[in-house]
Every structure is written in C-alpha cells, then in structure tokens.
C-alpha cells in the first residue's frame, strides 16, 4: 500500500531538509509557485477529495475557496497542531519526523490562498515536536524556501511557530484564534466564518497538520491519484491512532474506508491478552462509542456518520470485556468537565452536573431517578452552546448511557457486571 503522510517515517534523519529534498522535497512547491495559478491549485485540491483530518472532515479545497478574493486585508493560514483529542497522537509524529512535508504544504497553501503569513499553533505540552518543527523552519529560511523571493519568485512567506498553554478547547478553530490573539481560549459564534473574519479579523484558513502534509504529494502526483487511494468522497489515506486494549497500540496509515475490524484485529495486533472486545471509540473521545456488532463499519467520514458516530480525529480507543462502562463513562465525563472553557452556561454547568451524576452512580449511591435524569441533562447541553464541545458531551457521554444502560442499572441495583 502506498503511504502518503507517513512515507518518510522510519527513514534515518527524516526530519532534515537534506533528506527531504532527496525524495523530491519542495518539488511540489516549485511546481505550484512557478507553473500553477492559485485557482488551479484549489481546483486540484477539490478534485482530490482531501478532507480535514483534524476531525471535522470538511473538504479542504472548498475551505480554501471561501477566502474572499479582492479583499485588501492580509490573509492568514493557521495550522492547528493543538492535538488534544483523547486517543489522537499522529500530528506529533509529523512535526517530529517529517516537518518539511508540513512546511512545503504550508508554502503551497499560502500561495493558493494569497497569504504571506502562517502561524503554527502547537500544544504547549509538545515541547520536543515544537523544537523539531522550529528547527525545520530555521532550515527552510536558510535554504530560501521561506522569507522573501521564494525559489526566485515574487512570493514571500513568514512562518511563526506558536506555543499553546494546555487548554483542550484551543483545538476548536475559533478558540484557537482567540488564543492566538493573546486571549483566553473562548470559541466564537459562526458566522462570520474564519474564512471571512478570522485571525486579527482578517480572512483565515485553519487546517490540521496531517491535512496540509498531504498537499505536496497531491500537487506532485495529481488529484486523481490521491482520490483513488480512499473511498468515495473520502480521498486518500489517513493516520489512524489505535490505543487502549490492543496488542500493538500505535499509528497506522491506511486508506480511508478500511474496516474498523481490520484495524483492530490485523493492524493493531488484536485484543490484549486475547480478551473479547466490549466497546470502541472510533474517532477520539468526542465520537459516540461503538459496540462489537458495529465494527465492520468502514472507517471514513460518511460511513461512520451513517451509523450514528463520527470519524473525528482518527483516534481509536479499544476497550475489552473487563472494562466497567460506567467507569469509562465517568472518565469521559471527567475529561469534559475539566476541559469545558466555561463560556456557555449549558456546557459549564452541565459538564460538571453530568460528571457528578455518573460519579454518584459509579460509587453506588445512584437512584433509578438519577438514570432517568441523565439523558435529559446530557441532551440539553448539545445544540445550546457556541461551539461543538457541548455537542461532544451529548454525543459521547450520551452514547455510553444509551448503549450500556444495563451496566448503569446494575450499578444502581448494586449488581456486579465485570
């Protein structure tokens, strides 16, 4: 199988410019800057069916085309490297092992949208990935791939590597903008969308690390080649991150549409200690949990949506038969209660309320009324908040309660289930 985003992983010193160049590095950027017009590049991306791999799955070329032409304000590209969705750990590898693929993608993207400044927002805990990426930026400036008159053209571009400071919510694109502007990470109402009113009130494209790393190979080998790698409307491969009760946790680059069963049992080495599968989160903690009868699903945005879950960030967390699902719900609820930014009341108050309610049930003090109340509380968060964090609580925690209701009931009756 042909690898795209991880094609250089495992090669010696893959992070160095000299090695990146040996493998046609910056050839796509040269092609774009010297022989393609920006609308042509955007068209190519649209045809490739590349979709946002941070979690939302929005078509990348379409996102770029929303940048208004003829707007006199500066335009920005912001790379979301605030990888924080539990179960997700892929962008870290790209920043450390193939930073120039991201940089070349940034260069092509900025040229396509008419931007001369890109900010790369890396989560504050990623100290090593930050240093690795900064070193690549420094190399690229020295080699003339950033700065003024790039590759002998008129085009100029500056890249700033920016550290976050430990807030999950900053992975939400408008919260990331608030944070990057020097404020608390509070999400903003949409519309206006960032493409029109984004960073410093200027038109802004926000893309994930993995998404932009796929841009150079698309320009080199063509949109059709990329589209064919994946499934219908879900072009290319994606990096799946597998963790939890499997024998080989790690990252696996596979075509979009690979069945979840194959990822767990073939690629990730099957269940730890040969135990039975009980539940699996298919796309980061925010994605509704799946039961073993659902794992023949194809792992792409549309197929997961069709069964009521989501592909999200590609973070697959596997739980075996020994897992107490009330406890698992408690862990998820604690995460949401901890990371709610506090801006909207339904989420700020609701996340804590849900956590306390589940804690009470888990600790054996729950009543049947608690379990009757829980769906009502959970369902009144989503849809009533500025950003999708509230929806994530509803979808995620709600799915544990709906699919493993018998375990909640057993806790209330003080029966042992696992």
């Amino acid at each position: 199988m042909e690898k795209v985003a991880t094609r250089h992983f495992g090669q010696k010193d893959s992070h160095l410019l000299i090695n990146y160049i040996k493998d046609d590095g910056y050839k796509a950027a040269r092609k774009a800057l010297t022989s393609m017009a920006p609308p042509q590049i955007i068209d190519e991306l649209k045809k490739s069916n590349l979709r946002g791999l941070g979690g939302a799955g929005f078509p990348t070329g379409t996102k770029w085309s929303f940048i208004p032409q003829g707007n006199p304000k500066p335009k920005y590209l912001v790379i979301n490297a605030d990888e924080g969705e539990p179960g997700t750990f892929k962008d870290k590898y790209i920043l450390e092992l193939d930073p120039h693929a991201l940089l070349e993608g940034i260069l092509i993207t900025c040229f396509a949208i008419g931007s001369h400044k890109a900010y790369v927002y890396i989560r504050g805990e990623y100290i090593k990935p930050h240093q690795a990426f900064q070193a690549a930026v420094d190399e690229a400036y020295k080699a003339g791939f950033l700065g003024k008159n790039i590759m002998g053209t008129e085009f100029h571009l500056d890249v700033v590597v920016h550290p976050g400071a430990g807030a999950y919510i900053c992975g939400e694109e408008t919260a990331l903008l608030s944070s990057l502007e020097g404020g608390k990470g509070f999400p903003r109402l949409k519309p206006p969308f960032p493409a029109v009113v984004g960073l410093f009130n200027c038109p802004t494209v926000i893309n994930n690390v993995e998404t932009i790393s796929c841009v150079p190979p698309i320009i080199n080998k063509g949109a059709e080649w990329y589209a064919k790698l994946g499934s219908e409307k879900n072009g290319g491969n994606r990096i799946f991150c597998v963790s939890g009760h499997v024998n080989k946790p790690g990252i696996y680059e596979l075509p979009n549409g690979t069945p979840l069963r194959a990822i767990i049992y073939e690629h990730a080495g099957g269940m730890l200690n040969g135990r039975k599968l009980k539940a699996v989160i298919p796309g980061g903690i925010s994605a509704p949990i799946l039961t073993p009868d659902q794992i023949d699903v194809k792992m792409d945005f549309d197929s997961l949506k069709a069964i009521g879950s989501m592909a999200g960030s590609g973070g697959i967390i596997v739980m075996d038969e020994t897992t107490d699902m009330v406890w698992a719900a408690l862990v998820a609820a604690r995460f949401f209660a901890h990371e709610s930014c506090g801006q909207c009341s339904p989420c700020r108050e609701g996340s804590g309320w849900v956590y306390r309610q589940i804690k009470r049930i888990y600790e054996g003090h729950g009543t049947p009324q608690d379990l009757r109340n829980l769906p009502g509380i959970v369902n009144n968060i989503g849809g009533n908040t500025i950003c999708a964090f509230g929806d994530a609580i509803t979808m995620s925690v709600g799915s544990y309660v709906a699919k493993f209701k018998h375990e909640f009931e057993a806790k209330i009756k003080k029966e042992v289930t696992v």
Binding site: P86, I127, I281, R334
Partner: protein
Amino acid sequence: MFTADFIQELDKITVKYDQKKAALLPVLHHVQEKDGLITPEAEKDVAKYLELPVSHVHQVVCFYHLFRQKKQGKVHFAVCETTACALRGAEDIIGYIRQRLNIKPGETTPDGKFSLEVVECLGACETAPMMQCNKEYKGFLDKKKIDELIEKNK
C-alpha cells in the same frame, strides 16, 4: 521589573507577531521558564511590556493549565488520567506515586523535590500509561519506572 536584557529577549518573540498582544502566551512561557512560575509582580510587568490591562494578563494566566501560580517540585510528575491511559492502569500509577511520595495530586513534597499533578490527555496514548516529567514524556509506566525516577532524583 524586567531587566533590559530580558526585554531584549522578549522583543525577539514579539517582533514575529502582527499584533503585540498575540505574543502574550509565548511571553508568559518565557517568563515562567525564567522564574518557574508566574507571580502577580510578573503579571504586572508583562502587562506593562505588552501594553495590556493587568486583569487581562491575570485572566489568561488563570485560564491556561500550563501557567503556574505556585512553584512545582524540582521533578514534576504530570500523569495522564484520560481514557487510553485509564484503560492501561493510570489509576494504579497515580496511586503508587501518591503512596511513594506521600502527597496528593496538586501537592509538592516538603523538601521541594517532587510534585504530582493529574492531567488530561497529553497526546501519547500509544505509550499508555504515560506522564510528562518536567519537559519529557515518559511512557509505558510501571512501578519500577516510577521507583527509578524517584531514586534518581532524590
């Protein structure tokens, strides 16, 4: 008060940004790197330097988990307790560190050598259970690894 040399270091950061205010997070990181925490005094200095209200700087310091208002131990254990780590035994690891150091999450040992914090996902679930120990990620934690880290830094 920031020294002239320190202000020069900060200038190197702020010059990259289109607006001075946008440099607030990296500036605070730089201050914390120097002092080990962000004091009310430093908040005032940062506010003056970036021409912001002190209240804004304070809000930002309080909002972000990585900015500290009290000093940590020389060796700081930030142990992940989110789903992937929890499934692979994070609670036992946290319990063992508590027992070994006789401190609760959020506390520092009386000699100032160790502190413990329980955090949410650090993006290294493939190495669960894991933690951040000062600047480094440590994965596949077990009692032996915790013992080694404690003995080495005692």
